[in-house]
């Protein structure tokens, strides 16, 4: 009994309009690695926020390591020995990496902050974790993935009894994930209780000792990990909803002719010379390790970055968009990887978000034609299968997966010939992922060229006809047909074995 770190009974929590948790029980023991699963909006983040003192429950009892009563603030949670990596990045961009790691706990000597100790200890932690980041550099200078690593370092450095990781790997690729999983195993061996939220099933299989599945705010099942198969878990998560199996093109499908091509394209500093073509009617994957420059490459294709050199052609004609609007007019469009900050205006309505990139088609002389707009919006909602109360409600009310569908819908309404999707499935649950794959395939069948970037190599085999390997600033290879397999892609992106 003294092994229990956390015990929660009958936890309920409602937000305006939604019940996030309904009478949930949860407990965690020392050394346990608990995978917390559920589709978008199931209540996973809410549950761990209550555990960490970030949110207060409407009802229910909490017992943290023998300490009774709900935690009333994050500070109390930290004091009680709970360290959390939250789903949303919580980095202070204007501060150094070292300061971020010790945020609010800066080492002091005689009442004044001891900068030497601060930097030294931060360097030690980063080195111990095997993260190659300079502790003195400003957090605004490092990449999104490195920021994620800094947050992990922050949580681990607290030496907590309970470590909560809410989708820590959603912006990481394989190498870093390996490092993190190793650290988790080490900590659990040392008796730390760990809660791990992820939509990546293979990670869970590798480290979790037990799983808890939530659905629509209710506790569905908790079991040792060996007792449930992957398909069991998916069924528990989705309930009645089913996932289609594969979204690959049917055998014999032939992609159309090249629509967009690039020759020796340089997008500095990461991409030095990339040559490739995108064909109508195909789903083309671009695989590469963290920071290989996939995002930059896509940005160059839509005029958000100016290539330093190289040529592009679109439908045979020279193509050099001076900005996003020019690319949009030419028929090339992309959805950004950071949905919350770049993808959508969440305080506006779903309807407006859907037509935001195509106002011209639903207005005349700058005046909105509400009939046309409603028609477009309703069509999109039907096509994407967005679940909503009414089209006018704020996008913020939707779950992550549904928000992502709206972002894609916005791009589609701009009627592009080439659609670039940068990490469209990041942080999206299995069910929604399947729907997004299906949508991609559907679009390709209609003749669009779909370019799909993901940090999760497992995703490519689900939907891609062809995958380009971006490595060392160049397209070093191409994988097609049945060769599109995770292991092949892993080898190719890491460089052990080059495909022909």
């Amino acid at each position: 009994m003294q092994q229990r770190l956390i015990e929660m009974r009958g936890i309920s929590k409602a937000y305006p309009g939604v019940t996030a948790l309904r009478n949930v029980d949860f407990e965690l023991s020392r050394g346990e690695v608990r995978a917390l699963l559920g589709k978008n909006g199931a209540g996973k983040s809410t549950l761990i926020k209550i555990m960490a003192g970030v949110e207060t429950p409407d009802s229910g009892d909490i017992d943290v390591d023998g300490r009774k009563g709900a935690l009333r603030s994050p500070a109390e949670g930290i004091k009680a020995g709970i360290a959390t990596v939250h789903q949303e990045l919580s980095i202070i961009p204007e501060m150094s990496v070292a300061e971020n790691i010790f945020l609010g706990r800066w080492p002091r000597r005689a009442g004044s902050i001891d900068w030497n100790t601060l930097n030294a200890e931060a360097a030690a932690i980063l080195a111990q974790l095997g993260f190659n980041i300079d502790p003195r550099v400003s957090a605004s200078q490092i990449s999104v993935a490195q920021r994620q690593l800094v947050e992990i370092a922050r949580a681990i450095s607290k030496g907590a009894k309970v470590l909560i990781l809410d989708e820590p790997t959603s912006s990481l690729v394989t190498q870093e994930v390996e490092v993190l999983l190793a650290v988790i195993q080490r900590l659990s061996a040392a008796g730390v209780g760990i809660i791990y939220i992820s939509h990546r099933m293979d990670e869970i299989r590798r480290i979790a000792t037990s799983v808890t599945v939530l659905r629509d705010g209710t506790h569905i099942r908790t079991a040792p990990v060996d007792e449930v198969s992957n398909s069991d878990i998916v069924k528990l998560m989705l309930g009645d909803a089913t996932t289609a199996s594969s979204h690959r093109a049917p055998a014999g499908h032939v992609a159309g002719k090249a629509i967009l091509s690039a020759t020796n394209l340089a997008v500095l500093p990461r991409v030095t010379s990339a040559s490739f073509e995108v064909r109508a009617g195909e789903v083309l994957g671009i695989a590469g390790v963290l920071g290989s420059g996939r995002t930059e490459l896509l940005q160059a294709l839509v005029g958000l970055r100016r290539p330093a050199s190289g040529q592009m052609t679109l439908e045979g004609a020279a193509y050099a968009p001076k900005d996003l609007r020019a690319a949009l007019a030419a028929g090339v469009f992309m959805t950004p990887e950071d949905r919350r900050h770049e993808g959508a205006v969440t305080m506006l309505g779903i309807d407006e978000n859907l037509v935001m990139a195509s106002w011209a088609s639903v207005s005349k002389f700058g005046i909105i034609q509400s009939g046309k707009m409603n028609q477009t919006v309703n069509q999109s909602i039907a096509q994407l299968g967005v679940k909503l109360a009414r089209p006018g409600e704020a996008l913020a009310n939707l779950s992550g997966g549904n928000q992502q569908k709206v972002v894609i819908g916005k791009a589609l309404n701009a009627k592009p010939k080439v659609l670039l999707l940068d990490e469209p499935t990041r942080g999206v649950d299995v069910g929604a992922k399947g729907q997004i794959y299906a949508l991609m395939r559907d679009l390709a069948t209609q003749g669009l060229a779909v370019v799909f970037v993901s940090g999760e190599l497992e995703e490519f085999p689900e939907v891609c006809d062809r995958v380009l390997i971006l490595r060392d600033g160049q397209i070093t290879g191409e994988v097609t047909g049945d060769d599109v397999r995770t292991q092949v892609l892993l080898d190719a992106t890491m460089g052990e074995r080059r495909p022909a």
């Binding site: 990139a357 106002w359 909105i368 701009a414």
Partner: protein
Amino acid sequence: MSSFLSGRANEVGLVVGIVVLYAFLAFMAPNFLTPANQLNILRDAAFVGIIAWGMTLVLISGEIDISVGPHVAFAGVVLAKLAASGVPLPMAVLLVLVLGAFIGTVAGFLRARFEVPSFIVTLSLWLALRGIAQVISNAVPIVIMDFDFQRFGSGALFGIPIPAIIMLVLFVVFTFIATRTVFGRSVYAVGGNAEAARLSGIPVAKVRTIVFAISGVLAALTGILMASRLGSGNSGAATGLEFDIIAAVVVGGTSLFGGRGTMLGTLLGVMFIGALVNGLVLMGVDPFAQGIVRGFVILAAVMINIISIRRVRSR
């Protein structure tokens, strides 16, 4: 119906606030409810309201424009100077409006292109425009010798003061702009999330520039009406007007952080503060104490607004 009300918690709250205020003033301030006084409130409100429509857009887009007070004085002085140097009045009015749009455009351009915070850009204008007005006029009012023109600011049509008519017409126009035009919705998008707007192909820099241009035109228009009412261009006019306007817009529920606000809310905010200022005079409150009352009432109004919106949302 209840969802209609909850979607408009802000406006409903304001209407209740105005009703309470009217009841109080009807009781406490002699002659408050007379038609003459109500029309007078409406006329005064116009000098806040017209610019407030533009300010609502400015705040929704996530910016601020504190230059409007001096801009009003500047526009009046330039108009009077032009008229005094023989430019026909209609022509001078047109020139001042164009100049106002131009100044706003420059401010918006500096914000949009060089990312100078709009508070700083408009603070510079705040200093410069008043200074230019003083230099042009030597701080002495420049008389406009045209009695027809004076009717603009102080006359009435069908009994309703002309500035109030202009304000109400513009209210309709701006409500339309804010809710039914691509530009208007783009303002909300830019204020709600500028990066997402940019990546959706919305011309963010252009939207920002236009928002300031509108604010400039409206300040110039108010300056013209003010000059008409005073019969002269006055470099000392409209001191502190920028704060009256921002206060009215924020009391009306527009967010200072962008993305949220309605013209109706602003109209109610303008009427609320207009009635309050008028009532304080009629009640004979010590003029020095009126600042105190206004400070507290604005704070209370915004606080109640924030709290009530939160309440309704959490239901």
